[in-house]
Structure formats: C-alpha cells, structure tokens
C-alpha cells in the first residue's frame, strides 16, 4: 500500500495547499495519508525579560519556577493548536473522499521525525516555507532546506496554491538524482496522464542523451516532449515554467558537491526558491 507523509505547520497558505496536494497525490496513487504536525523546540525570545539586573534571595529557584510555568503554558497551547490543525486537515481530506488518513502530533525535531517515518513512504509533501520564513524575500523555510538535503523519499515541495497537474517540466541534468526521477515517471501512476516536458540546459541545439531519454519515456506510453534550453540553468527553467504554464517541476537534488551547494546553493534549491511552482525533488 502506497503511503505519503504530509507535513503541516498551520501556516495560513501552505497548510491548505499541502492538504490539497496530498489529496491529489493520494487519489492518483490510492495511497494512505499520514498527516504530521511537528512541535519543535521552544521559541527564543518569548520568555519574559526582567532587566532589573539584581539577584534576590532564592533567585535561581524563583526564576526556574517562572520559566517552567511560562514554557508549560505555551507548550499546552501549542499542542492544542497542533491537534486542531491536524483534525481540521484530516477532516478535510476525509470529506473529499480520502479514507485512510492518520494524524500524528510529533514533539521534537522535524528532520528526525521524518527519518523515523520515512521507510515505506512513497512521497513527502511539504510547503515551501513555514510561518517564520518571509515570502517577500523568497526565503525558503530552514526546515524545507534540511529536508531537501536529507530525505530519501521524493519530496513534493508545494507552492501557496494548489493547481491540478496537467503539464510537468522535468529538469534533466544527467545526474544520479534525475535518473531516479525518470524511474519514478516510468513506474508511478502519478504522472501517467500529464503532458511531460523534458528539458536540458545545454549549448547545443540537440542532445543525443536527451533524445534517448525521450524515446525511453515514450516507450512506456508517456506523453513526452523533449527540448534543450540555452543559457543559465535556473533562469532558463524558470522562464520556461511561465511560458509553458507548467504545473510542476521535477528535479534532482544532487548534482553538485556539498561544498558548492553550501556556499552557492544548489540548482534545485534555486529552482524551489525562485520558481513559483510546486517542485518534486528526488535525491
């Protein structure tokens, strides 16, 4: 039985979009949906601050009591909120006919939560950024980046609004990760009925490798078109998305050394960041 993990954080736009996308994917793959809401470490700076700078009798014990009470209240609130978010989303999925929905509230680190639940899971759905990240600056959520770097399963990083998948762009770069993506295309029912555009950024007008890939995909009955793109990889792909009205970008996460990725940011990272489309990422 196929299974997808959907991570919801309760942020205004993305939660809805993650649920909608999860619903779409679950229907295509007839998969179980596991909804996860993670409550991480406490927020800094939320604690009360007393700048009086003096030490009273028994200050340490008093302060400990005060901080503990403060954390306790917030933790209770966070859990209550988490359960609400989960039951809301689960209710929505069930209303729309997805029957096997599991809800789970996780306390701890997001990445660890995923690592434990990843085995046996076919797809992870997550929003591009959480509550904290700034949409205006196109910053990705720090958790999204960590998941992109770590997750073994394909990760569907969704945009703010859900759109049904009619036209998909595959950013072919010949790397290990994108080969996995091609395997997925061949075997998974998810994109069987969509129009698939395979593109490769290169300076030549045609590319024999790309042609081979194209033939191969056509061979399994997919609706495929292949093209080469000129110029900078990221920009070419992003402008192609707009021109062709693409609904989903499929990309590989690796391709560069980790050192380069650390300083420059990987191509995949940039596509996720700048392209306002959902991205299906393989590692």
């Amino acid at each position: 039985m196929a299974k997808i993990l959907a991570l919801i954080d309760g942020s205004q736009h993305y939660t809805e979009s993650v649920v909608d996308n999860a619903e779409f994917v679950a229907r295509q793959l007839s998969a179980d949906v596991q909804l996860i809401h993670v409550i991480g470490r406490r927020d800094l700076g939320s604690a009360p601050a007393d700048l009086s700078g003096n030490l009273d009798l028994g200050e340490r014990d008093e302060l400990l009591k005060e901080l503990a009470e403060h954390d306790e209240q917030r933790a209770k609130l966070a859990r209550k909120r988490g359960r609400l978010i989960l039951s809301d989303s689960a209710g929505r999925l069930r209303e729309n006919g997805i029957e096997r929905v599991e809800e789970e509230l996780v306390l701890g680190d997001l990445l660890e939560a995923i690592e434990v639940r990843e085995p046996g899971c076919d797809l992870i759905v997550i929003g591009k950024r959480g509550d904290a990240a700034d949409f205006a600056k196109l910053h990705l959520g720090s958790n999204v980046e960590r998941i992109m770097r770590r997750a073994k399963a394909p990760v569907l990083i969704v945009a703010r609004t859900f759109r049904p998948l009619h036209k998909v762009l595959v950013a072919y770069d010949g790397g290990q990760s994108i080969l996995k993506a091609l395997d997925f295309l061949r075997s998974s029912p998810l994109l069987k009925r969509t129009q698939i555009e395979v593109v490769k950024a290169t300076n030549q007008a045609s590319d024999p490798e790309l042609d081979r890939v194209c033939e191969d995909l056509k061979g399994v009955g997919l609706n495929v078109r292949c093209r080469t793109l000129q110029g900078d990889v990221e920009e070419a792909i992003i402008s192609e998305c707009d021109r062709e009205d693409i609904d989903l970008v499929v990309a590989g996460a690796s391709g560069h050394s980790r050192l380069r990725a650390f300083f420059v940011g990987s191509v995949a990272n940039e596509i996720v960041r700048k392209c306002k489309r959902p991205v299906l990422l393989f590692r």
Binding site: L7, I8, D9, G10, S11, Q12, H37, V38, I39, G40, R41, R42, D43, L44, G45, S46, A47, P48, A49, D50, L51, S52, G53, N54, L55, D56, L57, G58, E59, R60, D61, L63, L64, L67, A68, D71, R74, L77, A78, R81, G82, G108, D109, L110, L111, E112, G130, D131, A132, G141, S142, N143, R146, R149, R150, F262
Partner: protein, 546 residues
C-alpha cells in the same frame, strides 16, 4: 495569526545548543551493540552533526536567534560586570585594569568557544581568591603566566573529556560550593566595611535599598546601575570623603595589548605557578560546569560540557597573554542574563564588547565611583549566590548529605580554596556512599541434616568497606567437615574483597574444613582468578605477607 500563539512546527527557531548534544539520545542508542542496521544510521547521524556544526542554521540558532533580548541582557550584564570585575581585581590584589580586561576577553572568547550558549564567563571571585598569595609573593607577571598555564590545563581537561567527571560531584557538594562562594564574596567585602567612616555604611545601605526596592517600581533598568549612579552622584554633589575605585588602582584608558609574561621560563617558575594554575583550572571548571548545569535547567536546553572545558581553556590561555587574570563562568551573572532574556552566545559576546567600550570610554568616571556602591552590589551578588533553601533543608535532608555540604563550606572558608573544599566534599560523599553500600550485605547459613556440612549464602557487595563484616560472618571453629560458600547473589568488587574471600577460605582449611566456592559471577571470577591466591600452591606463605 494570533501573535501570542507559538510558532509551532518551526524547530529551526531553536535547535539544541550544540549539535553534538542535539542527537544525544540517538548517539547513546548507537553505542549499544544493536544490529548492523543501526550502525548505518549512526554514520548518517554523525553526518548530520557535521552538517549542523557548519550550517548557517546553527549560526542562527546559537547567535542570531534572539537578537534584541540578547543585546539588552548583554548590556545589563556588562553594567553588572564592571563593579564585579573591579571588586574581584581588588580581592586578587591587582589593578582593576587586570580584572576588567580579563572580563572582556573571557566573555568574548567563551561566547565563541564555550559549550553553553547564554552562560556568562568573566573574572570571578572563585578564581580571584586563589591568586592572592601568588600576586603578593611573586607579582603580576607570574599571575599572567599562571593564567596561561591554567588555560592550558583546562584545554587538556577538555581534550580528555573530564567534563564527564562532574558526575562525581554530588548535589550536596555543589550546594556547598555555591554557599562557600557566596561567603567568600561577602568576606572579601569586609575590609571595605571595617574601620571606615560611618558615612560608608549609610551609602552601602542606600545602595542596597535601591538594588532591592527599585525593581518593585520598574524592571526596565538595571537597579545595580541606578545604585551606582545615585551613590556616586550623592558623593560628588556633597563632596563626601569616601574611598573610590580610583583609590584602588589605575584604570585602563587603552585597549588591551598582547604581551608575553615577563618571567624566566624555567622549572623554578613552573614550580611556583603550577599549584596556583592547577587550583584555578579546577575551580574554574567546577564553577563553569556547575553554572552550565544551572543554565541548562533554567532554559531547559542541553549544553556540551566538554566543549565548555575547551572554551574556558582557550579563554584563559589567551587572556593571560593580554594582561588579564584567570576567570570562569559566573553563577550570579548567568542567572541575571537568563532573567534578562539572554539565551544565545550573542549575549555573552556583547556583554564583553560593551564592557570594553564602557571601560575605555567611561574610564575617568569609573574612578570616582565610591567603593560603598560596589560593596552594596557585591553583597547583593553574595546574597543572590547563596542557596538559602539549603539552610531550611538542613532539617529535612539526610544528615550525611547536609554534613557533606557543611564540610565543603567549612573547608573552603578555612582554606580560601574552593578546589580543596570540593575535593573534601567529594571524598566524604564517597566514603558515605561506600559505607551505605556496605550495609547492603548479608550472610545467611544453614547446616545439613547430618550436621557435617554448612552452607553460607552471601548476599550483597563485597568490597573494602564490607570485608570486616564478611570475615566476621563465618564460624571457622565449628565442627563440620565441609563448608560451601555460595556467592551467587553477591559481587566481589576489589582487591579487599578478593583478600577477604581468600582469608575465609584459608582459615577454614587451617581448621581442617573442606571449602567449596560456588556461584561466582563472571566479573567476580575474573577478579579472583587474577588476584586470588587461595588455590595457588604457596597460598599460606603469601597470606602471611598480606
């Protein structure tokens, strides 16, 4: 969204203090000899740690996660550090400059290299009291050298992971440590309170009143700072004849510079400074690790104790070369920092920077501060450091625990050396523990039907503290042919235990009784096999040599 709701599902907002600790639970599970599958996971986890250590995410969490509160609390701490650094310099018998520079340097370096974000380190009373005789007998340059050596010793301790040894310091010893520290800080103020004009007492009282009462009106400004400003203003306006900081020594008007301590580099120098360095290193680490624990508890976040040892080592080594005295973490200041909202490395770092700025810019003004204002602040620190609860607890806590605490306090106050007090406390708690475990020992026996064979069953721990009970439990003169000693429900821990068993076996043999040992567990057998002599040919001769 309601701004009061926590931003859940963003653990990135506050990942654990240090990546090595972050996955602590998992690492522990890694070391267990689980399936091979687990090992692959372990490799991956160390990979994650590596990633975290160098990622911007970590930088954000440990430095920039709480900027506004950290800067504010750093400033509060810096303002509180000035009087303390001056006071501790005066305790050590050095120019206030030495303590002020040290506080700047130690605060900034431990912020970067330490293992406990949110903890404040600077020149401290605990280390200052150890330096008094060194400075008096040999001078300042030897203090700098001792500071460098103390730092190097702490680096070694960190490299050897001695931070883990903190578990031998019991809670009672820790309580004794902070109480002793509070008493030492208070005692250091006594010279400023004896044989001074009555006006001084009035000013100290005024200072204390402001420190404790102002927070009831407003908690937006540090009350110790207000106390200093008010007391200084009154002294200046009315032209009061009070001792000032300027009377205690010269204040710095320049930035600290690198210098190599001007001492002969020979064995004799090492002999002079090593005892001091050792004391400073031990006390510094003890107070730092203890304070780290306090901050861990207050903030409910983990810290890396061994990295903290290294951080203290780096700080002291470098500080010695910049003309500063040795220091360590400060319990009082760290509590003030947390109370003021400081949580990350930034607060301690900014406290150091702000301190340097204040002493260079305000140098002239610092000199006119009456000592009475500083004394008031130090009395507050002393009162705030003391664990008053421990006095109430004397009634309810186990007597032995209270005794350990009191012995620690008395030893420190007597020797003026926190390290000696802690050693005394740890030894005493060790002895008490041994004597308690020795009570977990019992021997029962029964005689066979034909009254020819007695079986002794030993239960509990056989080690140095229980050997005499062990020996007394056997009746060697009984008229039986055979004795069986069943040790299947006991454990032999040490040489004394092996010796006691040997002795019992040999004594039975000398009475002509046949002895059989049964049920020795694996560990005990290994020990007896290695050390025991009862079954070796020259057993009797050896026994005499015991």
């Amino acid at each position: 969204m309601d701004p009061h709701l926590p931003r859940v599902a963003m653990p990135g907002a506050y990942p654990p203090a240090h990546p090595v600790v972050a996955f602590n639970g998992r690492i522990a599970s890694c070391t267990s000899a689980d399936a091979g599958n687990e090992q692959a996971n372990c490799a991956r986890r160390s990979d994650i740690r590596l990633e975290l250590m160098f990622s911007t995410r970590n930088l954000k969490a440990e430095w920039l996660g709480n900027i506004r509160s950290d800067l504010l609390s750093g400033l509060v701490v810096a303002l509180a550090l000035i009087p303390e650094a001056i006071a501790f310099s005066i305790i050590a018998g050095v120019d206030p400059k030495v303590g002020l520079y040290a506080s700047f340097s130690i605060a900034c370096l431990t912020a970067i290299f330490g293992g406990r974000p949110g903890m404040i380190s600077a020149a401290t009373a605990a280390t200052a009291v150890l330096m008094i005789t060194l400075v008096a007998d040999h001078g300042l340059q030897y203090l700098f050298a001792a500071t460098v050596l103390a730092g190097i010793l702490q680096l070694v301790a960190g490299a050897l992971k001695l931070g883990d040894a903190m578990r031998f310091v019991s809670r009672s010893v820790m309580t004794g440590f902070v109480n002793a520290l509070a008493i030492l800080i208070f005692m250091a103020q006594i010279p400023e309170l004896v044989g001074v004009p009555y006006l001084t007492y009035a000013m100290v009282a005024l200072g204390l009143a402001i420190i404790y009462l102002l927070p009831r009106v407003t908690t937006a400004i540090p009350s110790p700072l207000v106390a200093i400003v008010v007391v200084t203003a009154i002294a200046l306006v009315f032209g009061l004849d009070l001792r000032t900081v300027g009377d205690m020594g010269e204040l710095p008007d320049s930035l600290p510079i690198f210098l190599i301590p001007d001492i002969p580099l020979n064995l004799e120098t090492l002999q002079i400074i090593l005892p001091y360095s050792l004391g400073i290193a031990v006390v510094g680490l003890l107070e730092s690790l203890m304070t780290a624990q306090v901050v861990d508890d207050l903030t409910d976040t983990p810290s890396d104790k061994n990295r903290e040892c290294l951080g203290q080592g780096v700080a002291n080594t470098v500080t010695g070369f910049f003309g500063g005295m040795a220091g360590c973490a400060m319990i009082g200041q760290s509590v003030i920092n947390v109370k003021s909202g400081g949580r990350t490395r930034l607060s301690c770092f900014f406290a150091g920077i702000a301190l340097l700025f204040l002493i260079v810019v305000l140098g002239e003004w610092v000199a006119v501060i009456p000592m009475a204002a500083l004394v008031a602040i130090m009395i507050m620190v002393s009162i705030g450091t003391f664990s008053w609860e421990s006095i109430v607890n004397l009634k309810t806590h186990p007597r032995r625990s209270s005794l350990v605490m009191l012995v620690t306090v008395v030893t420190v106050v007597w020797t003026h050396n926190l390290a000696i007090g802690v050693v005394a406390g740890v030894l005493l708690s060790g002895i008490f523990f041994a004597s308690k475990v020795a009570q977990l020992f019992y021997i029962e026996s029964d005689l066979s039907e034909d009254r020819r064979h007695r079986t002794y069953r030993v239960l509990g721990q056989i080690f140095f503290a229980s050997t005499s009970d062990f020996g007394d439990a056997f009746d060697f003169r009984e008229d039986v042919d055979k004795v069986t000693i069943d040790v299947s429900r006991s454990h032999i821990w040490d040489l004394s235990g092996v010796g006691a068993l040997d002795r019992a076996v040999l004594k039975f043999r000398r009475e002509g009784t046949e002895v059989e040992l049964v049920g020795m567990n694996e560990a005990s057998r290994t020990l007896v096999g290695r050390l025991g002599i009862a079954d070796k040919p020259d057993a009797l001769a050896r026994m005499e040599a015991h």
